[in-house]
Assembly symmetry: C2
Homo-oligomer: 311 residues x 2
């Protein structure tokens, strides 16, 4: 990537002004001190009214108000999709005919292969204008009231550029995220989906499954009453949003199934060692895991506060 | 159980004065203000020297010093085994011929069916003198230097009395633990092992397995570099002691295999729902888990500090 360039923008349109979109707006304005106009688009004017009231955006537009949306996108050089991943296709189809030919569109979706497929279908020949992205940040709370100008400081943002993207456009989206304090990294969409299936989506499924298993047993109450610190940490992510995780599981289905099958094979090896009372094999595997987990922690792990709801 | 009785003791012999045994000694002396004599027995006099130096015990005895061990057990009314579970049989066989007929022996092992089987073999006709127990407490650090008089305050201690135990003996061990501030609960050894296989041993195996799976892939470094808060909490227990968890897996083998198979079946159901893109089934299961996890947390969960190394 080229050296950090000064970043500025004329008009940024954010589709979906919640935690992610709202934090980007606040970061660019309050942290980077940028003066460009920021327009928020919501399902209804109502749904972005709070963002306007908080001063996070300069103008609130309803998605179905065609004249207002047309005006909003006129001269907009940046467009961010920050709505649930499943809405990527419909939203891009809605804005495609109104896009300025110089506008660059990016997104914040936590899966990428499905987003790119939806974008190709919705944008057709304009696909070069779409630079896929994924800021790795979140909080327990959601909505624009939870938006923070510092949300992205020190966080990773993954871009998965398309073959069709102009390098300058990719760099522009990268410099936008760097202006929020984030570290920008690039990889392919397949690699992105595999990495997050492994370190985020699979653990969520495994954690939900443990609570679900206990619930289905007749002595569930007794078990819960003796659950301690290990259970607490292991299942913290089982308190995550069921709708969001349903969508992520389906959006990243192929990569998640591959990781799940791979994990099941590891578990079968562990099971065989336990059944055979093969203490040496168990100790070796556990020791290997402990070393890796400790090294990860020592290399910095992750910030402990404010980012626990990563997707 | 009968109402709380005043507890006192004449002489307590602790076999293995580490975190668990040392904390009991400190709790009885410093918290409950009891004046009975406390003798610590170690593999060598050296290994209990530190406990003596810290004033946690009144006398240090080496296990292989038969005259000293004989004197230590003379008139001892309470004996606690607080060594690794695998040593239960040999330790009990060692002390059995020296036991005062009025002594009550208890243990602190994190599995119970195997401990009871070893105790029956080692104690033979004296099995009625053995009341099996498991204090649910621990810390990240181990050894007598980590021992605390408050370690057991508000913690559960499970007793799994034998048919042969006199109720008064069970009550005496219960009142000893209550004097440390613990809550004493009773269940069968099979139920104990099932409960802890489910809420503690299985999560540890699942957590070790995730780190082990990632390690075996060519892009392990990339994956670790994007691991965030969900991964951190899910895998915290994968930094636990490999030796200890090897021993627990083998000691609680039957119950753990049953839980593992049950879990694998739940995971297969989740997999089928993901493969079939059955969003409704996923959302329903995730929502059920979330409600249960949140209720558990609201009912009190566990104390967040100082007990994370439960076994």
């Amino acid at each position: 990537m080229s050296p950090v360039a000064a970043f500025s923008f004329n008009k940024l349109v954010i589709l979906g002004v919640g935690l992610i979109g709202g934090s980007l707006a606040r970061a660019l304005r309050e942290r980077a001190g940028l003066a460009g106009r920021i327009v928020g688009v919501g399902r209804s004017a109502q749904s972005v009214a709070r963002a306007l009231e908080l001063g996070v955006i300069d103008e609130a537009v309803a998605l179905d108000d065609t004249p207002a949306l047309t005006r909003a996108l006129e001269g907009a050089d940046l467009v961010l999709l920050a709505a649930p991943v499943a809405q990527t296709g419909p939203l891009l189809a809605r804005v495609a005919p109104l896009l300025d030919p110089h506008a660059i569109v990016t997104d914040a979706g936590s899966t990428k292969s499905d987003v790119v497929a939806a974008a190709r279908q919705a944008l057709g020949a304009r696909i070069a204008q779409f630079v896929p992205g994924h800021p790795i940040a979140g909080r327990e709370s959601s909505g624009v009231d939870a938006a923070l100008p510092e949300l992205y400081v020190g966080r990773n943002v993954v871009l998965t550029p398309l073959a069709e993207n102009a390098p300058a456009d990719v760099e522009r989206i990268a410099s936008m995220w760097r202006a929020t304090g984030a570290c920008v990294r690039e990889m392919s969409e397949a690699q992105h989906d595999r990495v997050f299936a492994s370190v985020s989506h699979l653990p969520h499924v495994l954690s939900f499954a443990l609570v679900d298993q206990i619930l289905a047993t007749p002595d569930a109450e007794l078990k819960f009453s003796f659950a301690a610190g290990g259970f607490r940490d292991f299942t913290r992510i089982a308190a995550s949003s069921p709708e969001m995780w349903r969508d992520i599981c389906l959006a990243n289905r192929a990569a998640l199934l591959a990781e799940l099958d791979d994990y099941t094979a590891v578990l079968a090896r562990f099971r065989a060692a336990i059944e055979a009372s093969d203490g040496a094999a168990l100790e070796e595997a556990f020791a290997r895991s402990r070393v890796a987990r400790r090294e990860w922690q020592e290399r910095g792990g992750v910030r402990p506060a404010g980012e626990s709801a990563e997707k």
